[in-house]
Amino acid sequence: MNCREAQECIPLLWDAPPTHPRRILLEQHIETCPYCAAEWSLWQESSQLMHDLKEEISEERAEVINVKVMERIYLESPWLMPGDGKSAGTSAIVRHRLSLWIACFLAVFLSSVLYFTMFRTPADITVAQSGIVETGVAGSMEWTSTYPILGSEGGIIEPLVVNMGPTHPQYWMMLSMLGVGFAVFSLTRLNRYRRS
């Protein structure tokens, strides 16, 4: 190996294993060539200086990061918290009861939807109870309204009142949805209190 080859090889073979055939050749050349030996020592010195800059991190400082990360995970995803989180005795009973409530409300909702779609009440009863006024058909002369028109005597017109009671499926649909909403809200609040 001559000096030019050695100069090219030094950066490449710097961290090659000592048994590497080209490194052996390089080291043999360095022993006989002071110029390449000086170059080699420059590499050694710069490498040593780089290693002197190495940051040593203490276990305590690294542990702070560990705690921070775990806290952040549990803060942002409280349901991942181990221990008495999900399986707490009292909250499990509450959860069970709330789930039953939700199931009941959903059943009521489904029944009322089915009733509403399959067993529609007669038109005249709907008009009478809900206050929905029939519409006219354009081009037809036979249309007559059942809604009492008060005329234009200048008096106060009665407001339309939706007279919907427990006999109407819509009533139960709304009620059950409110129930589900309330149960879900309670579950979320309970979860938050448990974590805090």
Binding site: P11, L12, W14, D15, C33, P34, Y35, A37, A38, E39, L42, W43, E45, S46, S47, L49, M50, H51, D52, L53, K54, E55, E56, I57, E59, R61, A62, E63, V64, I65, N66, K68, V69, M70, R72, I73, Y74, L80, M81, P82
Partner: protein, 195 residues
């Protein structure tokens, strides 16, 4: 318990085991982040970025597949991306070593003039590393400080092994070139003259 066993357990819901998994890498990742950052004024950011790295890793753990990479290289990739994105944000705030007040700690008691010389050289080395293009710097740090092999570095940098060798070659040559003037050049010249 191996890394993959821990990861499986964490994926199945044993979140508290993530703390154990972090413990295996937290010092290495924090050191890597320190080395990647340009100056010691960003020390606090290094810790924040390290936390960010582990948090991101936890959030993406479900998508981690050991077939593609080891957990270690995957984690280093996240750390590197996190640091680079922070450096891009703080590009304007690049503070010099003198301004940063960075003082490397001497490992043993030395004479004041020797300590001063050593400090000067170490500042120079740090500056030489910081002046490298990002990929060269990453490759050099992973190789010199984290003792990684070419394959691992290639996975982290998303490069081929031969590219990594080339990056390291250029990085070392550049660092050496920047340091050359501070070494005993007269001695070298004398030796050359004698030859």
């Amino acid at each position: 318990m191996t890394d993959s066993q821990l990861i499986q357990e964490i994926k199945q819901g044993n979140t508290e085991l993530y703390s154990e998994l972090m413990r295996r890498y937290q010092r290495k990742i924090l050191a890597f982040v320190y080395h990647m950052l340009r100056n010691s004024q960003m020390e606090l950011i290094a810790e924040d970025l390290c936390s960010e790295t582990f948090y991101k890793a936890f959030r993406s753990l479900h998508s981690f597949r050991e077939v593609d990479a080891s957990f270690s290289t995957w984690l280093y990739t996240i750390a590197r991306n996190t640091v680079l994105s922070e450096l891009r944000k703080n590009r304007a705030g690049n503070v010099s070593l003198e301004e940063s007040g960075y003082t490397p700690v001497a490992p043993f008691e030395v004479a004041p003039e020797q300590a001063a010389l050593r400090k000067e050289r170490m500042n120079l080395v740090r500056e030489a590393i910081n002046n490298l293009p990002e990929k060269q710097r990453s490759a050099l740090i992973l190789r010199e400080y984290d003792q990684m092999d070419y394959q691992e570095i290639a996975e982290i940098l998303d490069q081929s092994v031969s590219s990594v060798k080339s990056l390291l070659f250029r990085a070392r040559s550049s660092v050496k070139l920047q340091l050359e003037s501070y070494f005993n050049e007269p001695e070298v010249e004398e030796q050359v003259e004698r030859v």
